[in-house]
Amino acid sequence: MPEPSSVGILVPAGMLGAGFDPATVVRGLALGADVIAVDGGSTDSGPYYLGTGQAKTAADAVRSDLRILLAAACDAGIPLIVGSCGTGGTDAGVRWVAGIVDDISAEDGLGLNVARIYSEQRAEDLLPRLRAGRIHPLAPLGPLDAATLQRCTHIVGMLGHEPIEQALRAGADVVLAGRATDTAVSAAFPLMRGMPPGPTWHAAKIVECGGQCTTDPRTGGVFARIDSAGFTIEPLDPDTACTPTSIAAHMLYETANPFTMREPAGTIEVAGARYTAVDDRTVRVEGSRFERAAQYTIKLEGAAVTGYETVSFVGIRDPRILASLEDWAGYLEKVLTERVAVVLGLDPSAWQADLRLYGYNAILGDLEPAPTPPREVGVMLLVSAADQQTATAISKIANPLLLHLPLPGMTYLPSFAFATSPAHIDRGAAYEFVLNHVVDVDTPTELFRLELPETPDA
């Protein structure tokens, strides 16, 4: 097939399951979309989703979005690419989205070839690479040790555009990828069709959050057309605009460095990019570069169990307590520590608690510029222990303190306002991100597994 002079990318939303107006997808197809790409995951909602392999999004929300996108891709005869399936991009996440796609495909008689790319990694497979010195830390973490890898409940490698291209070349109509870089999802098809890497990767970075790069991020998706010299971008909603400022400013969003961004194969360099208004809602970008790295690397993400948690919540309105709130909180921690030692025989090093005074200084803690006595306060006690039974027991020992603890020197027992009965909720296992490392690889696809249907309908 001859290389086209340009490639159009339709990104319907910043996240699969976020929802969008179906008319915006119709508009994107009318603009000549050659591919539909959407991100299905992120680390941004915390380690629980990777740690458990569960999705943040509701199945019905993902189903609703996919029904529109699959029909659009089928009608237009263009591929649909979903990255970081199921929030964490675990194998379970890919299978979860694939199950939804298969249901829709069967119900609506779409007959699509669906490729799955698995990016989950086993610790034992990474250990030889670690021993060979091929796993390196990214700041601020230090060198990796084997025990940290083995603690992880799930590890994923972030795939670049090559495994997606491999699936497309094998005839996939729909590509469901495990953990992928946000940009790879949009960059894969234009790169495969011969578009230059500088404009392609920069465009892919700008569209990855959907409407976030527009003047009204609530209106959904964007459309970008990449050519040999740059790219042009506009919102899918006709009443929303992209401006040179909204596009340039998007390089700041959730990035540590606004000028350079590392991908598996190299670095996106946008310091020299020029942003010009084509009209009052369309922007042209030229001058972006992609610097190929000497070593191809795959970034690892991993989550491990930190303990088992129970959360308790009580409200305080009494001005006498609120006037000495920090004294009360300190007294509670002291009495609780003593009671746990006596009743459960547990040393303070065997469990942890985080006592949060919502309404006073819970969110910023020591960074709070000027905490003042609040009108009321929500006290959250988060307990972490080695097992759930212990975390629950500590919380039950805390219960009468959260209900009645006086200030030191008070001659009577006050009673505070529990919000629910029981006042505690067991949270089960809690997780923490423990990997921020890259693996040197010899080929871009060696850590990933491509699964194609055995009997393609095409």
Binding site: Y48, P140, A248, E254, A256, N257, A362, D366, N436
Partner: protein, 110 residues
């Protein structure tokens, strides 16, 4: 009679937007967008390594400051003192950590 255009008292008064988010689980990043070149110059002078290190109780060496006059924006990134989602992290997206910077007084304002 009240002044129809109140003098900005804080960076938040001066800026279009002061925001904070995670940049991955191990970093947080602050973005300040200013409405014009004059406001940018004030913010550019105000936001220094020492000021941010004091406000956020982090070491000066851990800070990266990006000054982008074309966008009238200043960006500050540093490793999260608490890893996202760990027991003592009370702001999973770091979405409320713009406040200490936003409330920074503008010097010379009485």
């Amino acid at each position: 009679m009240p002044d129809p255009i109140p003098t900005p008292q804080t960076l938040d008064d001066l800026a279009l937007e002061v925001r904070c988010k995670n940049a991955g689980p191990f970093w947080m990043t602050l973005d300040v967008f200013l409405p014009d070149d004059a406001a940018y110059r004030i913010a550019d002078r105000l936001i220094t390594v020492d000021v941010i290190a004091e406000l956020y109780q982090v070491t000066p060496e851990s800070l990266q400051i990006f000054r982008i006059p074309q966008l009238r924006a200043v960006k500050v990134s540093f490793p999260r003192p608490l890893v996202q989602g760990s027991l003592h992290d009370r702001d999973i997206h770091a979405g409320q950590h713009h406040v200490p910077l936003a409330l920074l007084p503008i010097p010379g304002v009485t």
